[in-house]
């Protein structure tokens, strides 16, 4: 019995040795200062993203008109009444952009969370159990040979265009790229001494995977998650713009741009403003991701991550 309790005791000792919540907060603060010093652009990113998240959270208060209702005020230019003008159906573009931010951000974050969680779990098992690894990685290689948009378009043609189907379609590639990334980390981590030590004291596999290996991949996963968020927001917008994503009656930044497609000459504001929000959001996320990566691995400074 005494032998069996040893891993538990060792873990408890480790937990006791872990920093207190206060020390953890101080360390997080110190890290934030370091991140900002290393890459001051992150401040721009955080400010833009915070503004857009706040705006999205308060969108029911900000939106004043019924943006689904068509009116006779067709294609009015921006004014104090309609900040971003009105579209070809007389709907207020500002209200549609604010309402659209909810769906655009929801899809982006949902794809990111699904891809990171699924990708992490699959990669942990694949990297640890080598017999799974070979088959799974060939499958991942195959999936990643398709451009994201092509696979997503095919899946949406199959499943039909809706918010949930867009999330599913984009999570497929997202998960595959996370699996490839994390698996590489797991392969090198499983040879580390602390994993060997955990195995030696008889810790069960799930404990090694989720408590010893997984936490050590969080840094690179966080950086990659910001990249996934940026590409998912862009991909949803492209799909909805092409008419193969979120249907037109649910406004998203992508399909609002599409509604102004035919009016470049007479009403540029319909497509212009949603695009500004889209670009600003992605820019903010990329700037934050850049700063995180510079902090975690200064050698990679200035590089883009790629799927």
């Amino acid at each position: 019995m005494g032998m069996r309790n040893q891993p538990e005791q060792a873990e408890q000792l480790a937990i006791r040795l872990a920093p207190s919540p206060g020390a953890r907060a101080r360390r997080a603060l110190a890290a934030s200062v370091l991140i900002m010093r290393g890459n001051p652009n992150v401040i721009i990113g955080v400010v833009i993203l915070a503004a857009i998240l706040l705006m999205t959270a308060f969108s029911p208060i900000i939106v004043r008109s019924d943006y689904t209702q068509t009116t006779t005020d067709l294609r009015l230019p921006p004014s104090s009444e309609h900040w971003f003008g009105t579209d070809a159906f007389g709907r207020d573009v500002f209200d549609r952009v604010i309402a659209g931010s909810r769906v655009s951000l929801y899809v982006g974050f949902a794809v990111t969370v699904v891809s990171v969680v699924l990708g992490l779990v699959i990669a942990l098992f694949a990297g640890y159990f080598r017999f799974l690894d070979h088959i799974l990685m060939r499958f991942v290689d195959g999936l990643l040979a398709f451009p994201t948009i092509l696979l997503a378009l095919a899946l949406i043609a199959l499943l039909g265009g809706s918010v949930n189907n867009v999330i599913i379609a984009l999570s497929v590639t997202g998960t595959a790229s996370k699996v490839r990334l994390v698996r590489g980390q797991v392969l090198s981590l499983r040879e580390e001494q602390f994993v060997e030590a955990a195995r030696a004291i008889g810790a069960p596999v799930w404990r090694i995977l989720f408590l010893h290996i997984a936490p050590n991949t969080f840094g690179i996963v966080m950086v990659q998650a910001t990249f996934t968020l940026a590409t998912a927001i862009l991909a949803e917008a492209s799909l909805s713009f092409l008419g193969a994503g979120v249907p037109e009656f649910i406004p998203t930044w992508g399909n609002i741009v599409a509604t102004g497609k035919g009016y470049v000459q007479v009403a540029f504001w319909i497509s212009f403003f949603p695009g500004v929000f889209l670009t600003a959001t992605v820019l903010a996320v990329v700037l934050i991701g850049d700063a995180l990566r510079d902090y975690l691995d200064p050698r990679l400074k200035g590089q883009f991550l790629s799927e």
């Binding site: 060939r138 290689d141 092509l150 043609a157 741009v257 695009g275 883009f304």
Partner: protein, 313 residues
Amino acid sequence: MWRYTLIRIASSIPVILVVGVITFSIIHIAPGDPAAIIGGDEATVEDLERIRQELGTDQPIHIQFIRWVGRLARGDLGTSIFSKQSITTLMAPRLQPTLSLGVQVIVLSTLLGISIGVISAWKAGAPIDRAFMFFAVLGFSAPGFWLAFILIWVFAVNFGWFPALGYRPIGEGILPHLHSMFLPVAVNSILSSAFISRITRSAMLDVLREDYVRTARAKGLRELVVYMRHAFRPASIPVVTVIGASLASLATGFVVTESIFAIPGLGRMLIEAIIRRDFPIIQAMMMVVATGYVLVNLFIDIIYAYLDPRIRY
């Protein structure tokens, strides 16, 4: 060298096989009868029967797969459900616009991206570097369809320099062709060169820290020679990998720009097929694009092994 080439070729075969399995099974993963999904709500019983025969879904699944692979091996990409023509025949006239767009974008974005990256690395930290890198992040963040919209608004509507619509084939003369392709090429080149310039900059900065670069400077070589001969050559290796890998993201750009600028290429053919749920065309596109992607990356890897003798198994 031969060993590496052979192993590398052998390792892409399972990937292409997986690509085939994914492409084949895409119409089988949704619950229900594939014919009913393709036919839509208005399909009659006869329509469904015809689609089933077209797809061969009246056969057991492994027979379907073997037949499908056999047809692909003979270069037969199948038959369109909508127009009932062979897909290779439908694709042939669509090839020229997309290839022309692709070649122009790759050449232009490589030249632009590498020049910007090298200048940024040379002036690292200076205002010009900051400005370039800011635009590189912006170019990465802007969606292609919106950038296309802005360029149309500025250059087609306000200045009237370039047409927003109206593709002109190479047959009508090279200059009218390039003129009609200017805006779509510009959109995609801005997006890709943003990517390439960042990779070039960081690869250059990495190499510039190496000892042999210090030696080259110490023996009194001019900066230009140090940059171009000693630093750029090794730095170009990661850059070329990125250009190979970015071919996949070019596909997104092409689908979007061909649909905006009404270019009758493969990207637009795909969108039309998606709208009509013409699955044989969608599957043919998936197969061609993904196999192409695997082969291009295989080719790049083998070229490397020739250029850099350190790369071996």
